[in-house]
Amino acid sequence: MSTHLSSKTPEVRAPGLLPRLARVEGLPIILVFVILVVFFMIAAPQVFLGWPIYLSFLTTVPPMLVLAIGLTLVVAAGEIDLSFPSTLAFAGYLFSVCETQLGSPWLGLVAALAGGALIGLVNGTLVAVVGVPSIIVTIGTQFFWAGAASILSGGQSDALQELDGTAIYNIFAGNLFGVLPMQALWALAIAVFMWFILNRHRFGEHVLFIGDSRTVARVAGVNVVLETIKLFTLMGVLGGFAAVLLTIENLNYFSTQGQGYLLPALAGVFIGGTSVFGGTATIVGTFFGTFIIGMLEAGVVATGIAGFWVQAIEGIVFVAAVVLHLVVESPAKLRALSGIVGLRREQ
């Protein structure tokens, strides 16, 4: 049996350049990234034509990136997680205590991941089972776990200088071939892996459908409750891993670590093009978006623009990127744009 589909008047899909380019994942933000780097190279050649600044970025940005990738999936499901700064503090504490009291940083790694998983599990259960909106849950748990880290650590920072040069340091914060920061490779590996999970795995597809419409997901047979719990737990584990990267790199545990990562990680996700409404997400976008945010202040400083301008520039870049995404994704606006730019062939 067959049913012939009638369709409305065949849409004139002129094979223009812009629509085809828009299909490459993350292209708009990749372009913004390249333009920005080129701009910095021109405006501050003594900094951006040398290696040290890039190696510095590859050391600082990875923890932010790991967090942002986790957030990408959370946002794809139509949720949000604001508690991850506290995961950095709490999981970091667990790592630090295993090293200083028990002398075992590897146990600390496991403990940090487990601690992060616990935080995520609590978040996920409150959101999926009890039904509290994730923004409210994670604001609350952010306070709770930050407080827990504070109480348990007695507020003390821990120097972990003794880890310098040890195996665990070399694996997570060392330099491959003496040059390439290991945390960058770890972050890259996670990015690649999570891309496959989001775009090629059953779990990722469930996340996308939940973000698209919980009702559709449910009637399609997706166990929304279970998948949501798994999602937040995954975010927690990634937060725990970011905590380990951060703590080992700094060779220090600060009981207040993490607070400064809240806005950059979120900004990286949204600049990258993932929609706050859920249902679509791009890991590639988050990857470049986070690097843009991570690079911005140093780049502005290098070009000699007064430091007070940094936040204003961050805001402009953010708004510009978000508007760019909206334009590129909407066919009507895209046609208008390519008409203006002269790339559309007239029918």
């Binding site: 049913t3 589909l5 090629r200 559709v216 009637v219 399609a220």
Partner: protein, 266 residues
């Protein structure tokens, strides 16, 4: 394709509900529903808004669990503890909802397979295969003629009729024995409505069963073997095709609304 349910074993009713009730707190959505659908029947389910039609469908297809009652699928008792949408799909039941069938922002190929993805051992989706089958469905079953819709098209770019086509194509692909259509013609252009009605007819001619929820009495009167009327959670009439004319049916339903009961077929 699923081969676990023996198609060859004979049975009388594809699905039979016995004394189904569903209450949300004090609200009784369904009361004592007894409904049997034959192997090759088109059963029209009609009633006013809030009568319980969608709720009944959801209990039959594992979306919600009733507070009491029994369900028989192919004459075998269903265990509520293990019944779910996934299980219903496995038993070859398929629902085509008016609005909630498809993920708007997702491409076609994902929508066809979501919830029953073709995966490898680790859960990774065989994307190439799903895409191929999706294009196949578009070509063969839906007469896709290269008008700019392919497996990667996002649902949001399709018209109402095209979306219904996809949902129906999905039902056909998974070779369902029972297809439930929940208000399939709402908001469709006239030519598209024709197609949907043709499709419903073809369900019958291919030996399957169909439950068809519809507001438009003319459509359902034309197509259904039987009409089941739901009012405030109860079945109030079970009318065979031909027992009433369209005018009689309309009057019957209006009386029902006004007085809470109505005179049955003569």
């Amino acid at each position: 394709m699923d081969t676990q349910t023996p198609k060859t074993r004979s049975y009388e009713h594809i699905v039979r509900a016995e004394n189904l009730s569903l209450s949300y707190g004090k609200v009784r959505a369904l009361s004592g529903i007894d409904l049997a659908i034959g192997k090759n029947e088109i059963v029209g389910l009609i009633g006013d808004n809030g009568a319980g039609k969608s709720t009944l469908i959801k209990t039959l297809t594992g979306v919600v669990r009733p507070t009491s009652g029994k369900l028989y699928i192919r004459d075998e008792l269903v265990d509520w503890g293990s019944y779910s949408v996934r299980e219903a799909h496995r038993l070859r039941f398929e629902t085509v909802y008016q609005e909630k069938s498809l993920g708007e922002k997702q491409p076609l190929w994902r929508n066809i397979f979501v919830g029953r993805q073709i995966t490898n051992r680790f859960g990774f989706i065989k994307v190439a295969e799903e895409r191929r089958i999706a294009n196949d469905i578009l070509k063969r079953q839906l007469g896709f003629r290269g008008v700019g819709i392919d497996a990667d098209s996002t649902i949001s770019k399709l018209s109402g009729g095209e979306r219904q086509g996809i949902a129906i194509g999905r039902a056909m692909h998974f070779d369902s024995d029972l297809i439930i259509l929940d208000e399939p013609t709402v908001a469709l252009a006239i030519s598209e409505v024709r197609k949907v009605l043709d499709f419903v007819r073809s369900i019958k001619t291919s030996g399957r069963a169909c439950i068809y929820i519809e507001h438009n009495l003319a459509h359902v009167h034309e197509l259904a073997d039987r009409l089941v009327v739901l009012d405030r959670g109860r079945i109030v009439a079970d009318i065979k095709s031909g027992e009433m004319t369209l005018e009689q049916l309309t009057k019957f339903l209006i009386d029902l609304q006004h007085s809470g009961h109505a005179v049955g077929p003569a």
